[in-house]
């Protein structure tokens, strides 16, 4: 007779890390759908490219490290990283951008630091920042929402652009981005920033066609979709509500104060919330447990700092969006934050 010996506790929640990761991946679906709806197939293709690259890279590195390949390859963390990279990269960026990004994220940022659980930086954001710095042109190739484009961009054309830089009809990305009126359309954040540097008021900047009716055409809905996905995660207890709440509150407070001080040069709080990668960052990136702070108090500090940095960089920095930079900076601060937010052990002063 064989007796089965184990250490207590004997029962266990049935959740697993891989299940958690999968849930997070599923939660990005509303956002991806919104992206597809407003920007076409571009991001889906990028996600596919990044995922394949990430899995291959993970496989190679794991076999080099002689780790338990099957278990770790599909623990979901690599795929999640790839998905986040695919979402963040401009839809029409050349194929090698996402391939390079995924490769960098998995092989260097994650595995070189010791694999899952040991990477100090969020792999997706580190890759994004690397790409942004290395290839600023390609990384700002954000097309305008489909509704504003005068060229139809179906799947085959998108694929063609990504791999050859030209549509089947021979249009370049630049041409695709050009408004009927002859100017290049940027992202709303970009647009506002450019307008402000040109001495316009926010009021005037907001008249740009990319802004549209509310905060920004397309982007606001994409953000709303990620917000929805985030709620699902919170509901499922996959992430704690503390981090996104603290992050959003921090952005809100910062932009509100700025807006109160000078409404002409500062965008509204809601513009901050619903443009760029705010919601993606709040629910899917800052909540990455590995590179974040661990205690509840630590997470509040961590996310609040990120929110503050996002605001500062958006307002004063050279790049239009700031979530990736802010996240990396906070990753660096996380160990320190952990150090100072240790809970008081029961029975200790």
């Amino acid at each position: 007779m064989a007796y089965w010996i184990a250490s207590s506790p004997h029962n266990h929640i049935q959740d697993k890390t891989s299940a958690l990761m999968r849930l997070v991946i599923y939660a990005t679906i509303p956002g991806i759908i919104a992206q597809w709806y407003f920007f076409g197939w571009g991001n889906l293709i990028q996600i596919g490219l990044a995922t394949v690259t990430a899995l291959i890279a993970e496989f190679l590195v794991l076999s080099l490290r002689e780790k338990n390949i099957k278990e770790q390859l599909f623990d979901g963390s690599a795929i999640l990283t790839a998905v986040l990279i695919g979402i963040s990269i401009p839809a029409l960026a050349p194929w090698w951008v996402s391939v390079l990004g995924a490769l960098f994220a998995i092989a260097i940022v994650k595995q070189l630091y010791g694999g899952l659980g040991h990477n100090p930086f969020n792999p997706a954001m580190a890759a994004y920042v690397m790409l942004l710095i290395s290839f600023p042109v390609q990384m700002t190739l954000w097309q305008p929402p489909l509704s504003l484009m005068h060229h139809q961009l179906d799947f085959v054309n998108t694929l063609s652009v990504i791999f050859t830089n030209f549509t089947l009809d021979g249009y370049s990305v630049e041409q695709l981005r050009t408004h009927i009126d002859g100017f290049t359309m940027a992202t709303p954040l970009d647009t506002v920033k450019t307008a402000l540097t040109m001495g316009k008021t926010v009021e005037e900047a907001m008249t740009s066609p990319v802004i549209g009716e509310y905060f920004s055409v397309g982007w606001q809905w994409i953000n709303a979709a990620f917000l929805l996905g985030g709620f699902v995660l919170i509901y499922k207890k996959a992430i704690s509500w503390v981090t996104p709440a603290s992050f959003l509150a921090s952005i809100f407070v910062c932009s509100f104060i700025a807006f109160m001080v000078s409404p002409d040069t500062n965008t509204s709080t809601m513009f901050h919330w619903f443009s760029g990668a705010t919601m993606l960052g709040a629910f899917f990136i800052l909540t990455d447990p590995v590179s974040g702070a661990t205690s509840v108090k630590g997470r509040i500090v961590f996310a609040a700092l990120a929110g503050f940095l996002v605001f500062i960089i958006r307002k004063y920095g050279g790049y239009p969006d700031a979530v990736a930079f802010a996240v990396l900076l906070c990753n660096m601060a996380a160990p320190l934050i952990d150090q100072f937010t240790r809970p008081r052990t029961y029975g200790h002063q």
């Binding site: 007796y3 010996i5 697993k16 299940a19 040991h118 661990t294 809970p343 029961y346």
Partner: protein
């Protein structure tokens, strides 16, 4: 405290951090009553079932025991007895596997029930309120009750606290999933539980009694409520269900809002906690005189066909309970003792039920699957969120894997209650608690080693300090002794003055002698008369020496005389050597200061001298073989001075001293290499010895002046000795040196003393013409001899000396041999004496002749 009660009455409680809600699974057993199971084939009773120490066995194999009869007795407070759960025979007492996570074996009593279940005599207590506290505590102790919630701490210790108790908390939370033992007990035996609580109330006299129970036990709550209606003091606190509410620290926090400081017992906060099961056992023990021999055990799990709570006799093998609850035969068995959160899996179903066994869990594969593969921590922080001790399990886990015990201690690893909440929620399925247990064990082990090492170090240092102290004390003692001597000399008392004057006298004598000697030397060869005198003396000496031969010891007058003679002879020898070395004489005198008392009192003086000599001899005897006796020798001067007033002794001593001196001389001669080796070690000592020798001869002369006979004898002896010495010295300088060195410093000093003493005598005699003359004669004789020895004679003398050689240690023996060389007769026999004298004369003549020859040749 009021506010605590107010809050409780309003149903508001505090909260502890974290906690989890694992599936309760209590439905498996809550709806069935507690069943009594059949008697097992045999009972296995580990003699230690609690925290503390095992009791002492009072039964042996083959004994028949009655139900409730104690099997062990307690000799120390932390011990708890065990009792026979039913009547039967002790089959054996052996090591048996016990309920322990690592499947340890422990001494157990194996009891074969006879099926009759016969009780020992019991004394039912109708009204326990008449009993005083101590009796109650004693009853609890004798009933073998140890905490039944899991830890098994002896209950009588816990309730016997001196602290003032504000809250007695009854732990009825039973927060572990599956377990319903306490629940059922409260439902079926609420009255008994409350009785037990009241007994505790009487012992502890708390301000309030709080029963903490989770809200998932409505029937038990009803039952208790019914029982406590009349008692205002008891508050039933129905708290929300959350694991681990039943943890002692957690329940205290929930009910009182206080945190038990780390490393402190709750009683320091005025809180004592007892389990409901324990309360029931206390009531049974006090009221119906039933010791703890059975308990409720939840036998549960979906692998069982009939999970149920049972009354299990302590010692029942788990297998028996599983069979009773219909555990299917299966190849792979997963049996857990305790709950799923904190229990441990059993390696064997022969493990017996013990006092702390509250649950046997036999889960199905589906319920509790095999452990999942552990993957890396993703720092999700969920573990920290649920930790009731507010630790950081993920950080602890890293440091545990890295074996960083310092960090672990800093992160309060030892505050972990091993509740398992962290590991329960960990999505990476890291067996966190297992890591903590291993680390805790390692750290404890390390601490033990550290303590051991520390102790060893302390022992070593203590020893070093002791040796150091001893050394210091010794030095101190020596210094004091030396100072005392000096002080005595300088103190200005009569005695001191005498001492001083004696020293002065000695100095004077030495000078006189020197002068004399030089004079004598000049005359030696051509003064017949003197040589005659010398001859006579030599004869006398020989006779005496003969006497001494058989018996060198003191006490007997004759012997004493002989000894004296020998000593003198020896001294003479030394003196001969010394002539060459006048300078050192003065040094010696200081060392010798002890004897002078006798200077003005002849008799006494003589006695003292004798004593000194005797002692010196003894010392010398000791000294020669080994240096160890240094301390003793160091003391000798003092002793000698004190004895100076005893005449007889003194004489003896003097004799001994002389004898010794002789010996030394002899030794030196006989063994060149040996002596040389020693010699080089201390040249100074050598000087001392020689100085002594110089001083001695005068003394002899002087003694003889006052007492003619004695004086003559002494002179003779002295001459004889001088001859020998001279022979040695002259012929072989190195050899003599060796001799001197042979005596260690102490020895040297002693002998020096002996020498000084004689000097004093000499000085007395200095004023007496006769004496002076004799002395002169002696000196002349010596000078003659010396001269003679200077070369040719050496061999002969050496031969003689060698006869006595090898045994340095035995002074008397040597003396004997020497004496024998001259005469074999005893001193009391006139004839012999005469013969001896003749021999001596002959020798002296020979020597004289040689000396003459030599002189001429040279």
């Amino acid at each position: 405290m009021e506010t605590v009660i107010e809050r409780i009455e309003q149903g508001r409680f505090w909260q502890f951090h974290g906690g989890i809600h694992p599936p309760e699974m209590k439905f498996l057993t809550t709806n069935k009553p507690i069943r009594t199971v059949s008697l097992p084939q045999r009972l296995v009773l580990p003699i230690q079932q609690h925290i503390g120490e095992a009791g002492e066995l009072i039964v042996k194999p083959g004994d028949y025991v009655l139900k409730g009869q104690p099997l062990t007795k307690t000799t120390v407070p932390l011990a708890v007895p065990i009792h026979a759960p039913t009547s039967g025979t002790i089959a054996s007492i052996e090591n048996h596997i016990i309920a322990h996570p690592s499947g340890l074996n422990e001494m157990s009593v194996i009891l074969m029930p006879d099926g009759e279940d016969r009780w020992r005599e019991r004394h039912i207590v109708e009204n326990y309120s008449q009993l005083d506290k101590n009796t109650l505590v004693e009853k609890i102790a004798n009933a073998g009750i140890a905490g039944m919630g899991g830890a098994g701490f002896p209950t009588h210790i816990k309730v016997n606290t001196k602290a003032k108790i504000d809250f007695l908390i009854i732990n009825a939370a039973e927060c572990e999933p599956y377990i319903t033992a306490d629940d059922l007990l409260m439902r079926e035996h609420a009255a008994s539980v409350i009785e037990g609580i009241k007994i505790l109330d009487k012992i502890l006299e708390p301000a309030f009694i709080l029963i903490g129970i989770e809200d998932n036990k409505p029937e038990a709550i009803d039952a208790l409520n019914h029982e406590i209606k009349q008692f205002d003091k008891i508050k039933l606190c129905v708290v929300p269900t959350k694991y681990p509410t039943g943890g002692e620290k957690q329940l205290i926090k929930i009910l009182t809002g206080k945190e038990v400081p780390s490393g402190v017992l709750p009683s320091s906060l005025g809180i004592v906690m007892q389990n409901v099961g324990t309360c029931h056992a206390i009531a049974e023990a006090v009221i119906s005189d039933t010791p703890l021999i059975k308990r409720v055990v939840t036998v549960t799990g979906q692998a069982l066909e009939k999970p149920q709570n049972v009354w299990a006799l302590l010692g029942t093998p788990i297998e028996h309970l599983l069979q009773e609850c219909q555990y299917p035969q299966q190849q792979k068995r997963h049996i857990i003792m305790g709950g799923p959160m904190m229990g441990f899996s059993l390696p064997n179903t022969q493990v017996p039920v013990v006092k702390t066994t509250n649950c046997i869990l036999a889960p199905s594969e589906k319920e509790i699957p095999d452990a999942n593969q552990e993957i890396e921590c993703i720092r999700c922080g969920q573990c920290a969120e649920v930790c009731p001790a507010q630790l950081l399990p993920q950080e602890l886990q890293w440091h545990a894997k890295a074996k960083d015990s310092e960090q672990l201690t800093k992160l309060n690893l030892f505050d972990c209650i091993e509740c398992g909440a962290c590991a329960y929620v960990c999505p990476s399925h890291i067996p966190l608690v297992h890591y903590y247990r291993v680390s805790k064990a390692e750290i404890r082990q390390q601490k033990l080693l550290d303590i051991k090492a520390e102790k060893a170090k302390q022992r070593f240092e203590a020893r070093k300090a002791r040796l150091e102290r001893d050394k210091k004390a010794r030095e101190e003692k020596h210094k004091k002794a030396a100072e005392a001597r000096r002080a005595r000399m300088n103190s200005g008392t009569e005695e001191a003055n005498k001492e001083k004057s004696a020293v002065a006298a000695a100095l004077a004598r030495v000078q006189a002698k020197k002068a004399q000697q030089s004079g004598v030397q000049a005359n030696t060869t051509n003064d017949d008369k003197k040589s005659q005198v010398a001859d006579a003396i030599a004869r006398a000496k020989a006779k005496k020496a003969g006497q001494s031969a058989p018996n060198g010891d003191a006490g007997d007058d004759k012997k004493q005389q002989v000894a004296a003679a020998i000593a003198r002879a020896k001294a003479k020898k030394l003196a001969a050597k010394e002539q060459a070395n006048d300078d050192s004489a003065e040094e010696n005198i200081n060392a010798v200061e002890t004897k002078p008392t006798s200077a003005q009192d002849d008799k006494k003086a003589r006695v003292a001298a004798a004593v000194a000599r005797a002692k010196a001899k003894k010392l010398a005897a000791q000294e020669q073989p080994s240096d160890v006796g240094t301390d003793d020798t160091g003391k000798s001067p003092e002793t000698i001075s004190s004895t100076a007033e005893d005449a007889k002794k003194a004489r003896i001593a003097a004799a001994v001293a002389k004898a010794k001196a002789k010996k030394l001389a002899a030794n030196t001669e006989s063994d060149d290499q040996r002596t040389e080796g020693e010699a080089e070690a201390s040249t100074k000592d050598k000087d001392d010895v020689m100085a002594e020798a110089i001083v001695e001869p005068p003394q002899e002369t002087s003694t003889s002046t006052q007492d003619d006979k004695k004086a003559r004898i002494a002179a003779a002896v002295a001459k004889a000795k001088a001859k020998k010495l001279a022979a040695n010295t002259g012929s072989d300088d190195q050899r003599t040196e060796g001799e001197a060195e042979a005596s260690t410093k102490d020895k040297a000093e002693v002998t020096a003393e002996a020498v000084v003493e004689p000097m004093q005598e000499t000085s007395t005699s200095a004023q007496d013409d006769k004496k002076a003359r004799i002395a002169a004669a002696v000196a002349k004789a010596k000078a003659k001899k010396q001269a003679a020895n200077a070369d040719t004679d050496v061999k002969q003398v050496e031969g003689e000396a060698k006869a006595s050689t090898k045994d340095k240690t035995n002074v008397t023996a040597e003396a004997d041999v020497e004496a024998a060389g001259e005469t074999s007769t005893s001193a009391q026999d006139d004839k012999k004496a005469r013969i001896a004298a003749a021999v001596a004369k002959a020798k002296a003549k020979k020597l004289a002749e040689k000396a003459q020859k030599d002189n001429q040749t040279s």
